[in-house]
Amino acid sequence: MRIKKRSLKLAAFTALIAAGVVVTGCAGVGTAQAGWSGVTAGSGSVYLGSAGGKLVALNVENGFYQWQENLEGSTASTGLLGCAGASPAVIYATPVLSGDTLYVGDYSGRLYAYNINDRQSKSVLLNGATSKSMIGSPLVHDGTIFAGSTDGSLYAFDAASLTFKWKHDTGGEIWASPAAWQDSVLVASFDRKVYSLNSQTGQPNWDAPFECEGPIIASPVVYDDMVIVASLDRHVYALDAATGELLWSFPAAGDDEQAPSRWLWAAPVAGSGTLFVAGMDGLIYVLNPDNGQLDGTIDLEAPVASTPVIAGSRLIAVTDGGRVYSIDTTSYQKVELRNLDAAVSAPLGADNGTVYIHSVKESAVYAVNGETGALLWSTTIE
């Protein structure tokens, strides 16, 4: 009897450990992967990539579903001997609308072009049959679509046919969306460099790429013939768009006292002749674009990962806990519009004074009046 009891205990213990192995093995490690696609508005609809790997279109007036499409890409099987199975597509890139075509990329490295009228689509893998990913949004400029990949290359395709045109290799992953200036495309990479390339040929424009101290995740912003870049080294740099020459940096070299204490994840935003840079330290840094001098800071008391937007005369920013703030771009006065109580890391979208906020964790989209903070509608995404 005693032997049986001990054997049973051992069997139960072994089964418990085995179950634990299978569960954790199938669940994997690290933060769950869901994407952080922002919202694009246009042609009477708002478009986004959902956590379930779908391209979704909602009515801009009331948030009702118009259509949704499953993206064909999927992430590789994970977990113990692949027991967790392949997951649906994960979408980090915000869709981009150009005319009647909606472009979006997913984590499997596939770039899609959807006609918003008949939903005919075509797609192309950025890098053949590799498992490299698209994280930043693509850019459409001069009939060409540009997409950065985690394989470190910027790809250029014909926007209509998705025919490959050229690619340019950098030394690190590309998470930032490219930006355009005249006939150039600007791209920032994990290799700590900013590149300016001819949009037709992919040849470098500058003598050498600009190099900083940390990788760059935030998309470069073009303002007044300057390229403004926020780096994970907690500096903001302003470069001459034509030559790549450094015009100023914030904080200035050697002056680290003013430096943000945490990462600059969100892209800078220009409005009313001022630059606003939101940091993971909860501060929005207000900079003079002429010389990079700090004009002030606005304390939101919580990290800001999503890129703010300008709606009218106000800057709308959302903290990672879902608090929505409206900031006067002249007086820098902040007003808390509402608390969504939802995790937000996706970039914000804005159109006609309405701000669109996608909380991937809550699987919901919110439309908020940028002036009054009134919640116009909210929709749960399947």
Binding site: R6, V21, G28, G30, T31, W36, R234, D256, M280
Partner: protein, 324 residues
């Protein structure tokens, strides 16, 4: 402040930032950083580990006496408990002696494990989440993201070969901790210990097949440090018989190689005839395969003789009380 925030503040954040800062010293190699930090943390925990191993060994030595007490007072729980406490007191062994050091070390191992997962940042969300744990040290910001390539490994993805190494190293470590069979020890306890020696390595092998190889690297490093420590404290432990067999086998093989060379050198002078099938002798071995090479024949004949001796009928020793 909740317990999670306290954990992050006191243990996890220091571990994460140490991991990242150390990588800057080690040429940006995350793999090397994992190994070195494991060594540093194990080194710092050495006094506790030493105490734990010694307590474990002392408990193992007491097993026969405990088994005898169990046999003597099995039905009287109170008396058994009294006698056991008396035994512990007399021998100076504490039942919790091996448990307490392990409990103190557990948070450090958990923190190191969590730190490795977070710093590896297997997906973009994990990388964003990492920002919540970073100190505002310039060295930390300049180091990220860390290089996940180490030798042939991508530390953010599983590796089959390394998973096997995890299992093998864990098996060696378990074997060393296990005491060689002691006369009078509880056979059931020994059998259960044997089962765990196989089950735990198997489980960790399967775990390693799904977890990032950075974690597997940490387990391998930790296991290797464990059996180096174990060796210096209490020798080969349960590996002793295996080690002896291995040494014997190697020496036999080396001897065997010498005779093979001699056979080759004689091959030109001696014709080896195919042997006709022969009835096996008393040893049950056919001797036809023994070829005519002189020095080879000597060893082979010796081996055959040894087998013959083995096969000789042994005198029966009846158990007491069974034969009337």
């Amino acid at each position: 402040m909740d317990i999670g925030a306290i954990w992050d503040l006191i243990i996890l954040k220091p571990m994460i930032n140490s991991l990242i800062s150390l990588s800057q010293v080690l040429w940006g190699s995350f793999g090397l950083t994992i190994i070195v930090l494991t060594i540093i943390v194990r080194g710092a925990m050495y006094p506790l580990t030493l105490k734990q191993l010694r307590a474990t060994k002392a408990m193992q030595m007491l097993q026969p006496k405990l088994a005898a007490l169990q046999k003597k007072h099995g039905s009287d729980k109170q008396k058994l408990a009294q006698e056991q406490m008396q035994l512990y007191k007399e021998s100076g062994v504490s039942p919790s002696g091996c448990l307490l050091p392990m409990l103190i070390q557990m948070p450090i191992w958990i923190a190191l494990y969590q730190a490795i997962i977070r710093v590896m940042a297997v997906n973009p969300e994990s990388f964003l989440n990492l920002s919540h744990y970073l100190y505002s040290w310039p060295v930390v910001y300049e180091a990220l993201p860390l290089n996940n390539q180490f030798l042939w490994l991508n530390l953010a993805t599983p590796d089959f070969f390394l998973a096997i190494v995890v299992g093998a190293s864990m098996w060696v470590q378990q074997k060393m901790v296990q005491a060689p069979p002691v006369p009078g020890a509880d056979p059931k306890a020994q059998s259960q210990a044997q089962t765990m020696t196989v089950m735990m390595p198997l489980m960790f092998t399967f775990l390693s097949m799904s977890f990032p190889s950075g974690l597997a690297l940490y387990w391998v490093a930790s296991n290797i440090i464990s059996f180096v420590m174990q060796y210096f404290i209490s020798g080969w432990g349960g590996l002793e018989p295996l080690k002896d067999r291995l040494v014997l086998r190697i020496s036999q093989l080396l001897k065997g190689q010498g005779s093979f060379r001699d056979r080759l050198s004689l091959a030109g002078r001696t014709q080896v005839l195919p042997s006709a099938p022969q009835a096996p002798d008393e040893s049950g071995q056919a001797t036809g395969e023994i070829a005519a090479g002189e020095s080879g024949h000597e060893d082979a004949a010796g081996a055959a003789a040894a087998r013959k001796d083995k096969a000789k009928p042994r005198s029966r020793k009846g158990k007491k009380g069974k034969h009337k």
